[in-house]
Structure formats: C-alpha cells, structure tokens
Symmetry: C2
C-alpha cells in the first residue's frame, strides 16, 4: 500500500460537503462570544466601562482584563518540557489592560447571538494612555519606555549565536568577500477556515471543540492559562479547514474555555473574522538578514557570516525557535570551514509572529539563496555551478545537533532534474544579454529541511489499533489530519504492515484528548515520520498478537512459520485461517476470547533531512513591474513517497504559497499604530488560480533509513524555495537584485528605476 | 473509595438537564423516518401501494418489505457465538410482508419532518390476507396454519428439560403432594426515554447514534441485518433514559441504518412513540407454570416438578433463554433430591417477549414463591419456617453449570432482617383470624440470582486507562451507564485500586464502538462483576506501570518497596515523588517519555449467586378489591456494596417495578387481533409516587470471593421478590390464594366472590 496513489480516505466526505467541521457541530442554543480589541498600538487601558453593554437584552456576560486570571501562559504548539530552561515563554494573559499591539484583546462579550454580541462591543467605553509605537525590530532592540514585556529594556526576546572555525580569518583569506542584506515580509497563513471553537462544561470539566492542529497541546495550555488541572480539560478536533502553522498555536481556545466557566458551563462559540485572523492570530515572522561570505579562487565558500533580526511582534508565541531554526540551517548543506551565526528575536508593537509552514526556513532560504546567486554573480560563476561546487554530497550531519542528519541526500539528483526541466544551460545563455521592456530569465534555489524536531525538542507519538470482528482494524491517533492527507497515509501504513487493503483500515478522524493516544500533533513535517514510526510499531505489535492468537487456534501448526498476508493467516505457503474467522474467534470464543488491540506511546529519537530545489522561468515586464511565471518546478528528495498523488498535491500547494511569498503577499502595517492596512482577502494578495501558472512537481525517491517507510519531510518543504528561485530568475532576466520579497509591481518599478532600466 | 456513598459522577449533568441524550445530539437537517405497522394480527400483505406517499412534497423515500435484504437476523443482546448451536435464532427481517402480530413492520417513510412522515404513512394503501390469530401459548403449541415461523408446525420455538433423581418416586413417597398453576402477565419496561436513534454515513460506513444498553452488539446485528462487514458500522451510545432490558435488544437500529443507505447517507432519525414502544419493541414474557411438590412429614421438599409455557410472541428475540433461566432457578437454593423441570417457549401472534430486568426470574419467582406459601399452608406450617427448613445454608452450586454458585450465601441473614423489620412472628399471629371487609396480612418471598451469564454464554469485558499529565486518569469502557450508576462505581473501582480520589478519575460516558474497548454491555447484573473484574485488572496494570516508571526516575531507590497512595509514590513510608510530577515526566521527559496507558480485554470465567427477600405488610379492602401496602422491605445479599446510597436507590427502583408487577401492571391484548388495548402510560397502570408506600432497603454485606471488590449482582434482583411477597400477604390477610398477577381490583373482586368473601 505504501507508494500507491490511493484516494484520500476523506475525499468523498469533503467533496460532498458532509465532512463535519467545528461550525457544523455547534450545539443547540450556543452562546456567541466576541472579543473587544484595543484601538491603539501601545499603551494601557486607563478605564473601561462595560455598564451599557451589560444591561443590553441578550447580553449574558461581559468580562474584561480585570476578570481573568493574572498569571501568564505560553501559547506555542511545542511539546511541554519539565525543564524550566526548555519551557516556552509565558507572556500572555487571556485579556490585557497593557496593550502591546493594535488589536490586543482587552474584553469579551458573551451574548445570545452574533448581532447582540457585536452591538455590545460597541457599547464598551475605553480610555487609553498611549505610548510610542515601534514596529521595526532593529529599532525596538535598542529599547522602549516602558519595555514591551517584563523588564526587557532592549525588547530582545532572545539571542543566540555560534562560531565554527574562524570567520574573520576566513574572510581575510578569501579571494572575494560578498555582503548583502535581505528582508522578508510579514505574511499570513490564509487557511480557508478561520479559527473557531466552542466550549462548554461537562461533569465539572471544560470541553473545547476547536479547529486546531494540536489538540493535546491546546488541552495543556488551557490548563495553564486557567490555572486548573490539565486533566479537567477535554479538547476535540473535528475536520479543519487548513492551518499551515497558525493552528499550531493556542489561539482563542483558553479565552473560550474561560468564558464558558463564566456562564455556568453553557456552550459558548468563539469564532473570529478574517480581519481578526490577520491581526490577532499569528503571522510569519518578518526577518532581516545581514549576510557575508568569503570565497576562494575556485569559488569555494571559506567563510560565512549571518546576523538576523526577527520581528516577534507583541507576544512571544513560538518566539526565538523560528529565528534559531533559520540560524541552524545556515551551517547545513553548503560546505564551509568557517561559519558564524547570530540571531535576534525582538518584541515590537506588531501582530504576533508564530509558526508557519517552513518555520523560519522560507525566510532564511530566501536570504541564503538570493545571496548565493549574488555571490555567484560577484565571482562571475553560473549560480547552479556555484552551488554544486559548494554543496555537500551524501551524508552530513549537524555539528551541534547530531541526530539531525542527511541520512540520504538527493540534492544533486534534484538539481539535475530541475535543470533539465527548465533547460537551464540553454536558457542561462539564451537570456544572458537581453534588451527591451520584456525580458526572460531562469533562476533556482534550493533548501534542506529537517523532518521532525528532535533533538531540539521532544518527539513522542501514540497509536492504538483494535481488530474488528470482520478482520478490519480501527486506528486511533493523536496526530491530526489538517488537510494534508495524514489520515490517508497513516491508513496506508497500517495496511502495508498488516498486509491488507485500505477497506480494512478505519481511521478515527476526530481527535479527542479524552480518548485519543497522546501525540503533539501536526507541525514541523513530523507526522508521517514520527507518528508513522509509532503507527508501524503498533501495527507490528498487532500483527504479532494476531499470529500468536493464530497459534492457539492451530495447535497442529508447530514448526511452520505463520505469516499474515491478504487477510489470511498463512503457514508457510498454505492459507490456514482467514483473518476474519480468527477475529471473530477472538471476540467470541468460549475458551479463549480476548479482543486483540495494540497501543504504543513512543518517543522517537531520530531525525533526518529532506532536500529539494525550485527552478523557475519568468518573464518580466519592466515597465509594468509585472512578473509572469512561465515555468516552475519543485524537485524534492523526501525519501520514499508514501502516496505519490498526495505528495504531488502537497508540492502544488506549497509552491502556490511560495510563489505568493515571492511576488504578491505581505501584510502591510500602519507605521504609526502597527495596524494592518490590508488584513483581508481582498487587499492581501493571495495567489489565486488566475495568478497560478502550470506548476510541476518532481521527485527523487531514495529510501531513507530513518523514515519508518523510507519517508522524509514533505509537509513544509514545498513552500520554501519558490520565492528565491523567482527572485533569482528576475535577477537573471533584468540584472537587478531585489533583496526583499515580495516582488510587487511597486517594488519592481522602484528597483528598475534605481537601476536605470526605466 | 469502594463502600462509600460518593455522589453520582453524572448527577450534576442530569439534574441540570445538561446531559446529552440522543435527541439532544441530532444533526442539523436530520430527516425523519416513520414505520408503517400492520393493522392485522396474522396474515400476509397481498399488495402495497406507496405511489401517493412517494409524490408528497417533503417525502424523500418510501421503502417496503420488498426493498429490504431478505435474509433473517437475530436481535437479542447476547454475545455472538462462533458455534452455530449457540447462535441466537434469526427470524426477523427489517420489514416484512408476512405479518405475525398486530403492528408488524411492513414499510417505512423518510421525510423532511415528522408531520410529513406521519401523513405519508396514511397515504400508503395495503391489502392483507388474514389468518387466524393465536395469542395463547398453550394453544399455539399445538400448531397453526400456516406456522408462525419456518416449518415449526407446533410453533414451539424451543423446549428444554432436566431430571434430577426420581420425581415420580419422590411424589409417591411424599406425605403431602401439592399442585398449583401460576400465571404471569405481559408487562413492559416503561423506561422514560422511548427508543430513539439516528443514522448517517461517513467515509462509506454507517454511523448509528442510539439509546441502547449494548452498542457493541448493535454494531454486530446491524452488520448481520444489512449483510455488510461489521467493521463498516459504528454505533455511538450517549446518555440514555433507562432501558431495563428493552434496550438490551436491537430494536429499530438496523432499519435506521438501512434507511440512511437509501437516502445517500443523509442523517435519518427514527424515534418511536410510547404506543409503538409497548407494541413494537419488547415485553416481559408472560409465562404459565404448572408446579407440583411432595413434602415429607417434617415438611421437607422431597420432589419438585415444573412445567412452564412461555409466550414468546411473534419473533424469537431473547427466545428460550428467559424460560430456560427460570428453569435453572427451579433447581437452585431449595434443597430437594428429586427435581424435574420442563420449559416451552412458544411463538404466538402477540408483541414480542424479550429481556427485562430479572430475565425470567420475576416470573418463576412469582410462581415458586406463591407455591411455597401454598405448600406451607397445605401442611399448616409457617411459610417462613417452611422455607428455612428447605433452604440450603452456605455454599451451593448448580448441578449442570458449576461455575454458577452461591460462593457466599446470606439468605438466612436476609430473612432474619426482613422478618424483624416486618414483625413477622407477631403479625402472622395477630392477623391469623380476621373478619371484616378490611384485613391485614404479612407475606414474604425470596429469590436467588446469578450475577453474570457465564458459563451459559460468554463473558468478556474491556477497559482502557490513560494517565493524564496531572496524575488523573481517563477511563474508557465498552460497558454502559444506563441510569444505574455504572459510571460512578467504575470510577470508584479505579480510585480504589489506584488509591486516589474521585476527582482524579475521568470516565468516558459515551460509548463509541470505534474507540471504546469491547464489552457486551449492560445486561444481566454483570457489569460491576464482569466489567469490574476487567477494570480492576486494568487499574492494577496501570499502577504497576506507574511504579515501574517511578523506578526509572528514582534509581537511588533500590531495595525499598514502592507503592502508590494518595497521589504520591511512596518508598516504604517516605513520599518520594508526586503522581502528577511523575505523570508530567512520562509525557515530557527528553530521555524517557512514554505516556502510561493500560488496556485489557478479559474473558471472565466465573459467576456467583446473589440472594435476597421481600417482606410486605398489606391492608386489603375486600369490597373495593384494593391493596394498600403498609410496609415493605427488600433485604439483599449482594456481597460488598460498592456504593451504599446507589445500592439503596437501585433497590427502591426495583421494588417499584416489583410492586407494579404485583398489583397493577399488565399489557392487555385484544383476543381477536392481539392488539394492545392499554399500550400507553395512561391506561397501563405503572406505579406512580402516589401509589408507592415508604419502601425500605436492607442489606446483608458479605465479601464475595468472586466479585472483584467482593460484590455480587444488584442490578436486577430488587425487581424480583415484591410481587409474590404481596400476593402472599394478601393470602395471609384474606385466605384467598391468587395465582396470577397483577392483583388488580377486578381480579381481587372476582377472587373474593369466588371464595365467598363478598
């Protein structure tokens, strides 16, 4: 079953609209909550008057920051740690009177319906004292009065750095030293389904049904936020309409949980608008990179230096993990004896940066891969040749975090496929010396990406299997289907290991922390690797139990080896009992009945690096400042493909996100307040089908020894390389190096003007 | 925690109306199904015309018996068997054109709402060919043309018999031989919530949410009824409003499952009215008993003979199991060297007999215990003394089914308590020679009852426990809370074995066959005994895993013995780590994390007999034919009481049912058609609070070695002895022996007239 393009197990449900999302499950007479957001970018609430709202008919409860527990809690979807040093930064309250960004949550209304709730919000009177707003990290890092958080006088949430070899000496010895500064914008996930949850109480416990990637983590954080035992919280995750990392954060679930406790446990819905999703959930961190490199006469990198400045926004969320992840990747993949890296993550008065597909790597990849082209150009070398010269072939491992290793490394094969598809050599020459207003170019970029989070953080996954009377199995996981096809590939894994077909595997789609095995959820590109390891182990245990039970039924089978194939038990090459007959016996035998189940909770102490590249051919209309993508391909080494068709779809989606990152998407903030100016799907230029060229997904399949089925990361990687590949193609077409994405018409026009092209 | 009257875990939910029952969970835009019932008592459908119904606006689908799968399936809530001989009788189709009783199901309508569905039913035109109706088993057993089922020319579903010693010789040698015929009526469970279910399709499978006692069995029977793999069915059981055995049968769930497949998997509700519940679900079998006994000079039983005739009604359902259960009890408890027993179960054209609290024992107990009084009277002996003389003291076991044994036997203690409470000796004398229209009497009856169904049938139970981060546990069972307090006592069991408190045990109330461990469900009086055994074992496994994990955290603890008490791990008498800290470590340790869970699926090959008695004092108004119960007590030996308050409530409820069985409840059928004449809660005289005297529950607690916590049956026993105790009190008061219950005014008047009292 592994390696086959079986249809998604949820295809029919989703196509027919029958799949149940959170909104579809709302209980009858569910109250509605709405959040009051601050209308200043930095300051404090001097006074808040809710009296008019409270007396409105249909208003059930109004709470303000005065009413919520006053201890802080962390929100990111990381596994917790029992070690203080590894715990996430706890800097958020359910509601706050200390406004840190435009839109901060200061009060909430619970009402009988949406309209009353909205009207009640308008009746709340707030007086503020305003402080200066700082939206730029490289300014904020010199401090503000008062500090944004705690006593952090420099507003630096965290800084990390490392030295390998002697960079200064390397630079001195270099034939050429190149420097560049690269900037990435704030973008947003734009999942179809905005965050939505509803909460109610049951037997003294709080139940939250929510559109999340991480139900078990949401459970923990609600416990932390409300200061109640975590076992008193139950989180249920139905089908969700995308997440891309935004729902790898605990968003409004703790507030929703708190609100139901304020109305006697009645069900309360808290869903938010698209505008709130842009402003009040999470974004991709904007990061600035100062890069420098020294190369020797042969064009080999002999020194690299990176200093990065990540804009955290107003709350820590995933915090420094994103910038640190980028910093780690600076020392991977390209061989170089002397490397220095330094990363800052800095609080500002802007919307909060969190997890987003690629977790810092799209940013750093944009910087590095633009820079690699710029270095190649400086030494007059073909950028592909330059990369091939400097890339590590075969196995390599991270210096500091050894389990992170390229156990298989298909990058050279990927480059070959990509170059062939785009006709690299031919077109690099053909487009070398163009004139005129419309010019073409080819560009490329590559990346590496670690699959799970070990050993930076814990990797643990659980699985439970139960054999039904008809020989089919129930599969339960804490890992989540978030649109990526997880339920399908997990089912394939079980079918593979039990040597059966898809019809015999019934996966539980809804996660319920009361009954689903513990798993930290859908993030990184971990699930098919980490959870897959648990699933395989669990299926092996069940298979062994089945065969052991078969032996009790078949005492005459003594020396022959039993195996499970095609829903039969085989003794050597003879079919001896069908799995269905065995299963029925296991349920109903009067002499020896015991339903066969298997469960594992498995810590996974391994990791592996996936790789890949993007090649793009673009046509640039210099006068219009318009990029047309003519051809684009991603080629991935993600190990063995579990389901080629799903893999291809995953790549298509990621490329769409990467192209948007390259040419159109950015959340623009008002300089004075930090307020988003285009936080809606009309003004925020998400790629649509009309903007999307034919896109091509290529693969280099190598069985990875660490992957449970030879597989490596494929969830996030597709989103990484397209933006720098497009930028490099524009450089090739026009000779103009744009060091900040997205390459919007305005940015292009400005650049071309500056370069004298118009 | 065992033995404490902790509050019900669902008390708050139920008192506040927040507990979710099936009706509360209906999905939006749920279609409504209604069933067309035959209006003849026996015959065939010659033609059925649905065309007018089909064209009605809002009618989505009409199906008739022509449209359903034509293989038969069994309905009773028994564990399945892999042996053909032990499988239940399969004699039912989803709909039928062969009408076997008034109200048989011949067609169904699915419509947009209830009103349209009801109107559509009236538009269906049916022509019948009628056969003679037979509602009396002792006539039906001589056959009908055509037979009611199959080729059973005698309409006898089953017959069983046994011989112990030589009954004829015993009768010959007896000083006195007494004979009597006793009859019990058809009664109904009258649970508050009528059967209700809804069904829909999900990923090609059928989901049925239903008010049932036996979700895992419903799953299997739907599979059998529709002829689909059982794994393709998912059954979910929310809170239910009582069952008492009626919901230990698979009722309309298979039809409901079928109907959703006929409307493309859209959700379809099928709930039925109170009238349908009386007529079309299940009832308690009416049974007639011909009894004879020979006693020697000392008043010792030396021969006993029973021939019983059970009215099965039109379909097999639980079938002969009920009559056979009664037959078994004839050879238990009272010592007698020569015993004969014979039981017939006979099809008739009446509503179907099924499981009901006590499963045949209320019937046979009425017969036996009336008979014991009649024998005592015949030999001029005090009936209590007569019983004491003949009862077995201490251990006894069933001759044929040895694991069924009174491993502890508190009957003499129970009798002592009951007699003291009712002032037996004093009042037997005081009321001996009364005259006048209003007379008083005291009577009593006793019983024995086996706890589970082993070895007659399979006993298997599953349990899963998972340790939360805060040291609390999640408990999952396939066993069901049906109002009896199961969730509470299971939680107590876990708290007891893990030595924690109730707040640390979170039980999963809803059973879902996709995820709940396999358990056959709530019937017999099995759950606290059979499931309790699994729960205890599961908790012991988890405790051992916790202690083993503690050892890995505390390498310095070498020789000291670890134990788990009060949410701490103790090394000898020192508290070394809290359970919460250990649990958090088990989730999040970077070196050794594995969430601690335990699961068992356990066949339970043991059984044990509970016992008890009822003593009643009544006042009989001879002219009005009215019985007033002055005092009544049940005294039970049910082993160790798990929760004394819940036990008392269980006894109160059972006594209410027993008193109704004694004096007011009966389903009256029309002689010509078999149609229920009083199948509603107005005309069917259920006991109300106004009819109910102060009732008293007494207990004799003996730790039973078979019970996981010393416990024995208490679910059904309370319903058994009250009816004959009241009848015997009336006999004492008036000298008139009524051999048929209930003792309604009309029956009393008739009896007193016949006896010359009026």
């Amino acid at each position: 079953m592994i390696g086959k393009s079986v249809p998604r197990v949820d295809a029919y449900e989703k196509v027919t609209g029958r799949a149940k999302f959170t909104e579809d499950l709302l209980p009858k007479r569910c109250l509605v909550a709405k959040v009051l957001h601050a209308t200043i970018g930095n300051g404090i609430v001097k006074s808040i008057d809710t009296s008019e709202a409270e007396i409105m008919e249909g208003v059930v409860k109004v709470v303000t920051f005065h009413d919520v527990p006053d201890h802080c809690y962390p929100t990111p979807g990381h596994p917790w740690s029992v070690e203080l040093a590894h715990q996430d930064v706890a800097d958020r309250n359910l509601l706050t009177g200390r406004v840190r960004y435009y839109g901060d949550d200061i009060a909430a209304v619970v009402a009988e319906d949406e309209i009353i709730a909205s009207r009640a919000l308008k009746k709340i009177k707030v007086e503020y004292e305003e402080y200066p707003v700082e939206i730029h990290p490289r300014k904020s890092m010199y401090g503000s009065k008062p500090p944004i958080h705690f006593d952090k006088k420099d507003n630096v949430l965290a800084r990390s750095n490392y030295f390998i070899g002697d960079v200064d000496k390397g630079m001195e010895e270099a034939e050429t030293v190149v420097k560049g500064t690269y900037k990435t914008p704030i973008v947003q996930h734009c999942h179809i389904e905005n965050p939505i949850s509803y909460a109610y109480m049951e037997k003294g416990r709080i139940v939250v049904v929510t559109s999340t990637q991480i139900p078990h983590i949401v459970r923990r954080v609600i416990g932390q936020a409300l200061g109640i035992p975590w076992g008193n919280v139950r989180v249920i995750k139905p089908y969700i309409g995308g997440g891309f990392g935004n729902k790898q954060d605990v968003l409004y679930e703790p507030l929703n949980a708190f609100l139901t406790t304020q109305v006697g446990g009645r069900p309360v819905k808290l869903d938010i608008s698209r505008e709130e999703t842009f402003c009040n959930t999470r974004t991709r961190h904007a990061i600035e990179f100062d890069l420098a490199a020294g190369v020797d006469k042969e064009g080999k990198l002999i020194a690299k230096d990176m200093h990065s400045y990540s804009n955290q926004g107003a709350y820590a969320s995933h915090g420094h993990a994103i910038a640190a992840n980028g910093l780690t990747s600076w020392r991977l993949q390209y061989a170089c004896p002397n490397i220095r890296g330094e990363a800052y993550t800095i609080y500002t008065n802007t919307p909060v940066g969190g997890a987003m597909r690629g977790y810092g790597i799209p940013q750093v990849c944009f910087a590095i891969e633009c820079f690699m082209d710029d270095v190649a150009e400086a030494i007059h070398m073909d950028p592909l040749e330059f990369r091939r010269k400097n890339l590590i072939e075969g196995y390599y491992e991270d210096r500091y975090l050894k389990p992170i290793a390229a156990n298989t490394n298909g990058i050279f094969e990927c480059l070959k496929k990509g170059a062939e598809y785009i006709h690299w050599d031919e077109k690099r020459k053909k487009y070398a010396k163009q004139t005129g207003a419309v010019r073409r170019g080819v560009g490329m970029a590559l990346f590496s990406y670690k699959t799970g989070v070990w050993p930076i953080s814990l990797e643990i996954a659980g699985a439970r299997l139960s054999l039904n009377q008809d020989g089919s199995v129930q599969l339960q996981l804490g890992a989540t289907e978030i649109g990526q096809g997880a339920d399908t590939v997990f089912s394939q894994m079980v079918a593979e290991t039990l040597h059966t077909d898809m019809a015999h595997v019934h996966i539980q789609t809804v996660q319920d922390t009361d009954v689903s095995p513990f798993d930290t959820g859908a993030y990184a590109s971990r699930q098919s690797f980490v959870t897959g390891t648990a699933v395989k182990h669990c299926a092996e245990i069940l298979r062994d139990k089945i065969l052991a039970y078969a032996k009790t039924l078949l005492p005459e089978i003594d020396t022959r080896e039993l195996s499970l194939r095609d829903n039969w038990i085989w003794a050597d090459e003879e079919q001896v009992i069908s799995l269905a007959a065995l299963a029925e016996e296991s349920y109903y035998s009067l002499t020896n009945s015991s339903v066969l189940t298997a469960e594992v909770s498995e810590q996974v102490k391994k990791n592996t690096i996936a790789t890949g590249c993007c090649f793009a051919e673009v046509e640039v209309d210099i006068k219009l400042g318009k990029i047309k993508i003519l051809h684009i391909i991603n080629v991935h080494d993600s190990g063995k493909l579990l389901n080629p068709q799903l893999a291809e779809m995953q790549v298509h989606g990621g490329m769409s996100m990467g192209m948007g990152y390259g040419i159109s998407e950015q959340l623009i903030l008002d300089e004075k307040t930090g307020r988003p100016l285009n936080g809606n799907l009309l003004d925020y230029k998400l790629m649509t089908m009309l903007d999307t060229p034919d896109i091509k997904a290529g693969f280099v399949e190598m069985d990875d020894p660490m992957g449970p089925y030879g597989n490596k990361a494929l969830g996030e990687p597709p989103a990484i390389p397209s933006a720098p590949a497009i930028r490099n193609a524009v450089l090739h077409a026009t000779g103009v190096a744009f060091n900040e994405n997205p390459l919007t018409p305005q940015r292009l026009i400005d650049g071309f003007k500056k370069a004298g092209l118009i």
